[in-house]
């Protein structure tokens, strides 16, 4: 049974020039494990699809089943709990809370899950991603690469089954991009499912499978 299954997903936005249909009757499913890259031209709906998979926006129609549970039929509280338990999300713009220290930003992920070893695991992740000297700093004092590594720590803290990453290396230099991709690979090798969007073919080529996103299909293709 697939870990993530999106069935007949459609989504349109209302723009100045009327309704823009971004996704139409998309069907897509993934089993557990591996890195899966979505590619496609700007505006093709990659980010929208990832936001829907993460339960961060509602599609106009369709069904999203994660770990045998229909995310879209849940109430707000259950959906939030499911996000906390199952899904980690990494954004291109990092989206860290500016006045919290690095350690607090990462630990914020454990506010809902209340795992007893959260603090210990935070320390381990900080160490692993080379941020030990930055623990008490706020995000504004960090480089882009360091901020993305913090966002990655936050996403991984609760050991999610799915890690969704929207252009995770989009704002990073080559070296920092490599570090992020290595962490994603290690997570996938340990059974995690990575679903990422990228416009960088070099990054996509490191994935186990690549998919081209169009308005009405997400189809696998070989690079």
């Amino acid at each position: 049974m697939p870990l993530l299954s999106a069935n007949n997903i459609s989504k349109a936005y209302l723009g100045d020039e009327g309704k823009i249909q971004v996704l139409e009757n998309i069907n897509f499913s993934l089993e557990q494990g591996g890195i899966h890259a979505l590619v496609g031209q700007s505006g093709c709906g990659k980010s929208t699809f990832l936001l829907i998979c993460g339960g961060l926006i509602y599609p106009d129609s369709g069904e999203l089943v994660i770990d045998s549970k229909n995310l879209l039929s849940m109430n707000n509280s259950k959906r939030a709990q499911m996000r906390a338990d199952l899904i980690g999300y990494v954004f291109q713009q990092f989206h860290l809370i500016p006045y919290l220290t690095i350690e607090q930003n990462i630990l914020a992920s454990s506010l809902v899950t209340n795992k007893k070893d959260a603090k210990k695991r935070t320390g381990e992740l900080i160490e692993k991603l080379g941020l030990a000297h930055r623990t008490k700093h706020i995000p504004g004092k960090l480089s882009s690469g360091e901020q993305q590594r913090v966002a990655l720590c936050r996403a991984l803290l609760n050991n999610p089954k799915i890690l969704i990453a929207d252009e995770p290396t989009g704002n990073l230099d080559g070296n920092n991009g490599k570090i992020v991709l290595e962490v994603l690979r290690e997570y996938a090798n340990n059974g995690g499912l990575v679903l990422m969007a990228t416009h960088d073919i070099a990054v996509a080529s490191l994935a186990d499978a690549t998919y081209k996103v169009c308005k009405n299909s997400i189809a696998e293709f070989k690079i």
Partner: protein, 105 residues
């Protein structure tokens, strides 16, 4: 003030929801903060007012009467108004899809 605070912190609310906080958690955080600020401000304000009144009285100015019961009511009203003023904007921000807010940049 709180309405403005919540508006400015929409992105923060969206981030908190992304990492799994429910709208109930968000309400609690913002309303608790508003309550705490109002409580501290009104208690400090009352204490300062009483000290000023007593000082002026001692300096020979017209005496100012103060009533502890009225001070308590003022503190309570201040807390209630703050809670109400923070609840509605928090509700509006928390009811939007977090992805929509974060996509605004």
């Amino acid at each position: 003030m709180y309405a403005n605070n919540v508006k400015e912190r929409r992105a923060e609310i969206a981030i908190l929801r992304t990492i799994g906080l429910s709208t109930k958690h968000i309400y609690f955080l913002f309303i608790f903060k508003a309550f705490l600020l109002a409580l501290i401000a009104s208690v400090l304000g009352s204490i300062c007012g009483i000290i000023l009144g007593v000082s002026l009285d001692n300096l020979g100015y017209e005496s100012i009467d103060y009533y502890l019961q009225l001070t308590g009511i003022a503190v309570l009203c201040s807390c209630l108004i703050s809670i109400l003023a923070s609840w509605l904007p928090a509700k509006i921000a928390a009811s939007q899809d977090p992805g929509v807010i974060l996509n605004e940049g």
